[in-house]
């Protein structure tokens, strides 16, 4: 059994650690061994610090022996997307720009996980600066999908979803600006949760689009996601956009609520471009909820067709400013070719950033530039109000929305080389970010070819407990979570 430790959920491992059937060092060694065995193929990690992880695990075992275990995450190895800062560890955003950067401070979520006794394990690959939907935009090469090594794991948090699916971590953190947690969770067959904007501190998360970014967990089970969320949520005085909301016992709440719920099916999310197998799996999930006594109601989010454009204006505008700090002056890549100070900017940024990042910086700079602000950014912010209003209107009638997470299952590496085609992968996920809502993706089956499919549940603001409960009811009635990829 020991060699399968790395596929167990947190809740089960917690019991093993608690009874001292397994130590954190043993668990961490198992995860390290698994990583060494498979990551040559999955390539989920940008780097990891084996000695540091073992030291953390040993410290956890000491705490446990002394009766000072800190809760369900005590001794559990957690991987972090390489956009979340860990003191003394590299922080690269999968960019050449930060290839040699070592962060001197902990993100708030990192500090919270450490405080909860977790073992911080490894730096997980992603699209450069979290810009992408396939993890192919990493300067260090793509991560692949453990279910089919010729396919993408989704993105931008593809390292976080792939590592978890492949048994290289027990749970992971990612970040979600337009679907970057939910979409890779769907494509890799794991649970992924994007919290309400403001529930989890962004301090220490490399900013892509500040008004949309949220950190959230990837987990094997809904219960694990609840454990993770509880550990990282809560008001942070270091993040001015952090909300002073109560953090409930998500794990208990998720078990307590049994429904039935009023669930909305947004008709705009089931149109052209939706893969028939994905559609069928989601329809079966809807039928399940109906059978559970839930009221299923078709709803309309009439501004859905404008989500993508609104998103690309707001996200790129904010990104163009957020990424201005990467200039090769104080840290990061400095071009050896630069002759003067101005040259440092132009050449360092040209050498340090990959094509997708450059494209988005150009687009964002353009929409903010003199004469275009009102037509683009201001207008997008107004349309954002309408998009948000669509959701709030729907919530007068329903408790949550059910949709596919991604219109398609995992696609082949290199298949979507046209940026616009790739941007369309996010059409079901970006509205949630624009509206600031919580949403999660839970596995809801496989294609005939064995690729995972994700069901998205979109909740009301700060109603994560409800959302977890709904997902759990579905999850417990199915056994998708028990399947693991078999790596050749």
């Amino acid at each position: 059994m020991a060699d399968e430790l790395f596929f167990k959920p947190i809740a089960e491992l917690g019991a093993l650690l608690e009874t001292k059937a397994v130590s954190s060092v043993e668990l961490t060694r198992a995860v390290i061994a698994r990583t060494k065995a498979v990551d040559g193929r999955v390539r989920a990690f940008n780097s990891y610090d084996e000695a540091d992880a073992i030291a953390q695990a040993a410290a956890s075992d000491v705490r446990r022996a002394a009766g000072q275990a800190r809760g369900p995450l005590e001794g559990i190895p957690i991987g972090l997307k390489d956009v979340i800062s860990v003191a003394g560890q590299p922080l690269t955003a999968s960019s050449k720009m930060l290839a040699n950067f070592v962060s001197p401070y902990d993100a708030t979520v990192t500090a919270k996980l450490k405080g909860a006794g977790a073992v911080i394990w490894g730096r997980l690959n992603c699209d450069e600066f979290a810009m992408g939907s396939s993890t192919e935009n990493s300067a260090f090469g793509p991560t692949v999908n453990p279910w089919d090594l010729t396919r993408v794991p989704g993105g931008s948090s593809g390292g976080s979803s792939a590592a978890l699916a492949a048994g290289e971590a027990i749970a992971t953190l990612g970040s979600d600006t337009g679907g970057s947690i939910r979409q890779p969770a769907a494509l890799c067959g794991v649970v992924g949760l994007k919290p309400t904007y403001g529930l989890v501190s962004r301090y220490g998360l490399i900013a892509f689009a500040s008004s949309l970014d949220q950190i959230g967990p990837f987990a094997r089970t809904v219960e694990d996601a609840a454990i993770m969320l509880e550990a990282i949520a809560g008001h942070d005085p270091l993040d001015s956009t952090s909300f002073k909301a109560d953090v409930p016992d998500y794990r208990a709440e998720a078990k307590r609520h049994q429904g039935p719920w009023r669930l909305g099916i947004p008709k705009e999310y089931f149109g052209a471009g939706l893969d028939p197998e994905v559609n069928a799996a989601v329809e079966r999930a809807i039928a399940f909820y109906r059978a559970q006594g839930c009221e299923i109601k078709e709803v309309s989010l009439p501004h859905t067709q404008y989500c993508l454009d609104t998103y690309y204006i707001i996200a790129t505008a904010e990104a163009s400013s957020n990424l201005a700090r990467y200039d090769g002056i104080r840290y990061g890549h400095r071009s050896k070719e630069a002759k003067d100070a101005v040259d440092i900017y132009f050449k360092s940024r040209a050498e340090g950033f990959g094509p997708e990042v450059k494209r988005r910086i150009i687009l964002g700079t353009y929409v903010l530039s003199s004469g275009y602000y009102d037509a683009f950014y201001l207008r997008a912010q107004k349309v954002r109000t309408l998009i948000r209003q669509d959701f709030l209107n729907a919530y007068r009638e329903v408790d949550a929305l059910l949709t596919p997470t991604s219109p398609v299952p995992a696609f082949k590496l290199g298949e979507k080389s046209d940026p616009l085609a790739l941007y369309l992968c996010d059409i079901y996920t970006i509205g949630v970010n624009l509206a600031g809502l919580p949403a999660l993706s839970v596995p809801c089956g496989f294609t005939a070819g064995g690729l995972p499919i994700g069901l998205q549940l979109i909740g009301q603001p700060f109603a994560e407990a409800n959302l977890l409960a709904m997902a759990r009811v579905y999850e417990q009635a199915h056994d998708w979570r028990l399947k693991h990829p078999v790596l050749p």
Binding site: V102, A324, S369, G371, L378, V383
Partner: protein
């Protein structure tokens, strides 16, 4: 500009504002790709936003601040640890012409 007119993306000007040195090949490719994206974005001009307030934050709150109590910062060594070039505890850049 109005949204109905084709957006005129002057890639040289924008790349200068963004401090990005682009190759001729990149300029051509980005112009074409971003032209497509901007063309797509034009449909936003069709939305009636009369009287609609812009959303800057999904959950706006006001007066978020901290009390004025100084806390220790980074040591010079830590502050400059990632610096590409340093001397006399300062970051070195080629002479800045003002």
């Amino acid at each position: 500009m109005t949204m109905s007119s084709a957006p005129d993306l002057n890639i040289d000007h924008v790349a200068k504002l963004a401090r990005l040195a682009l190759t001729a090949e990149e300029k051509a490719r980005f112009s074409q790709q971003l032209g497509d994206v901007l063309h797509h974005i034009e449909q936003l001009g069709k939305v009636d936003v009369t009287g609609v307030e812009p959303t800057a934050h999904a959950f706006p709150i006001t007066n978020v601040w901290a009390d004025d109590i100084a806390r220790p910062g980074l040591t010079v060594e830590t502050a400059l640890r990632n610096a590409p070039a340093q001397r006399d505890n300062m970051i070195v850049v080629p002479k800045v012409v003002e």
